[in-house]
């Protein structure tokens, strides 16, 4: 698994009071969620990682190499990102061509690209729609398509900005499944999300941001065990914990299944 390291990272938007400062951060877990309130700096980190923004000071290293030295093509092959709104990037005439276009940015072999596109579309359940216009798909399907354009390139590291927003529940299950497959294949997945139930149930690590600083990195169990911290940074615990604490049980539960495991048969 590729390893991302941030060192003494500083960034400020010109003319705004917001500034990001990260002293030392390693994304070591294969599945990390970045959480925090709006304006905490989550998207700014993603933009720095993808080179949309340049840090004022400090460096970002991937597997020990400075990200600033990457050629554009290598960067595409190393870090792939999908944004929250699928409509910001779809412009080709058919679903398949949309995926092929992405592939053509890193690879000139048309036949290979076409095959790869078919494979990926089948993977996200869009094989039947390959010949349709992207804008004729439902919002949920369009979102899956933008994810497919990144899956096709198969970068080492995947960044997802709010992937669950506007997905319906079957698509959410499918995406979670895809995440686990990626991790099993040795990829790293880093996700920005507001969905604490999902974070608690599926992720190995959580990174909490507030006012441009990283306030916490650790397992979901450690995070939600620290109620003071959760409240201070404006998060909510997973719903199952709201319910169990109402029942007078103050232990940490990450999902209903987690609750059965700890309480059944006692």
């Amino acid at each position: 698994m590729a390893k991302i390291e941030l060192q003494d990272l500083q960034f400020a938007y010109p003319g705004k009071s917001f500034n990001l400062a990260v002293k030392q951060q390693v994304f070591a877990d294969p599945m990390t969620a970045i959480v925090g309130q709006n304006g905490a700096g989550k998207s700014t980190i993603f933009k720095l990682l993808t080179g949309l923004l340049q840090p004022d000071t400090g460096i970002i290293k991937v597997d020990g190499h400075d990200l600033a030295d990457f050629k554009p093509v290598d960067r595409l092959k190393t870090i792939g990102i999908t944004f929250q709104n699928p409509d910001d990037q779809l412009f080709n005439a058919t679903v398949k061509r949309e995926v092929e276009w992405s592939l053509s940015q890193v690879n000139d072999d048309r036949d290979a690209n076409s095959q790869q596109a078919d494979k990926v579309l089948a993977n996200v359940g869009l094989a039947e729609k390959a010949a349709e216009n992207p804008y004729d798909l439902s919002l949920s399907e369009r979102k899956l398509l933008t994810i497919a354009t990144v899956l096709a390139i198969d970068p080492e590291i995947y960044l997802f900005d709010e992937p669950m927003i506007s997905l319906d529940s079957p698509s959410k299950l499918m995406l979670t499944q895809i995440f686990h497959e990626l991790v099993a294949d040795g990829h790293q997945v880093i996700t920005i999300t507001h969905d604490m139930d999902w974070v608690a149930a599926e992720f190995g690590a959580v990174c909490v941001m507030e006012h441009g600083r990283i306030q916490f990195t650790g397992t979901p169990r450690a995070l939600f065990g620290d109620r003071g911290l959760v409240e201070r940074v404006g998060l909510l615990p997973p719903k199952v914990m709201e319910l169990t604490s109402m029942l007078g049980d103050s232990r940490v539960y990450l999902s209903p299944e987690d609750y059965y495991k700890q309480n059944l048969g006692k």
Partner: protein, 246 residues
């Protein structure tokens, strides 16, 4: 704030015409000072400063180009590292630059002293249909929104490998990936917005135009006077042109 928007526009027109009618540098200087004073007495915003900076840069390139290559160049005024700058070209460029400055200063004055909603209210009160006012004025609000959409789209495409930054070819190649999502998104938003405007009573016959909070003075007098001045200036310019030809 006692001047109504139309009078201000006419004032801009007059100043522009005056500066075009004359080739007298002193008069131009006077007009520039006038424009500057108007601007300073109202409120200076960062956008006007930026616009001014850009036009000053433009004028500078004008000075260089005309100073070097103006067709009537004869007298060398000064030279820098062996390159000669000619007097005729520089004077000509100064005249042109002053005209540009006058227009920009006057327009800047208009923009900083008149809020968009003030314009909208004024136009609606002076009898324009609300739909026309909407088209003319909502653009000012929609524009930042569209620019924002555009930036987001550009970023989304840049991380997919579109790079509009270097050559002209790259720039052109990046047009479609940005333009198509932008236009489709705009169509989409237009549809939502038109549904929502209808739901929110846009064409409700009970609509009452809001009373403008500003009281304008001497509206008709100013209009007539300024229009008259504009006509005289145009006439004078035409007359000098024609008599020049004769």
């Amino acid at each position: 704030n006692a001047i109504d928007p139309i009078s201000k526009l006419l004032l801009i027109l007059d100043m522009a015409l005056l500066s075009f009618a004359s080739t007298n540098l002193l008069l131009e200087a006077g007009l520039i000072t006038g424009g500057l004073l108007l601007l300073l007495f109202s409120k200076v915003s960062s956008t006007t400063v930026k616009a001014l900076g850009f036009s000053l840069f433009l004028i500078f390139t004008m000075l260089v180009i005309q100073g070097l290559f103006y067709s009537k160049n004869q007298t060398v005024w000064f030279s820098i590292i062996g390159i000669n700058f000619y007097k005729e070209g520089l004077i000509y460029a100064t005249t042109l630059g002053s005209r540009v400055l006058v227009i920009i200063l006057a327009s800047g004055f208009f923009m900083v002293t008149t809020s968009i909603s003030e314009n909208a209210k004024y136009l609606e009160q002076s009898g324009l249909s609300y739909k026309t006012v909407y088209v003319l004025m909502s653009v000012c609000y929609i524009l930042p929104e569209i620019m924002g959409n555009m930036r987001k789209i550009q970023q989304a495409q840049r991380v997919r490998g579109v790079n509009p930054q270097k050559t002209v070819i790259q720039k052109l190649k990046s047009v479609l990936p940005v333009l198509i999502p932008l236009v489709i998104k705009t169509l989409d938003q237009s549809m939502t917005r038109s549904i929502s405007l209808q739901l929110r009573g846009f064409d409700n016959p009970n609509r009452k135009a809001l009373k403008s909070t500003n009281r304008y003075r001497l509206v008709s007098g100013l209009h007539i006077g300024l229009t008259f001045a504009a006509i005289i200036l145009i006439g004078w310019k035409l007359w000098t042109k024609i008599s020049g030809l004769l």
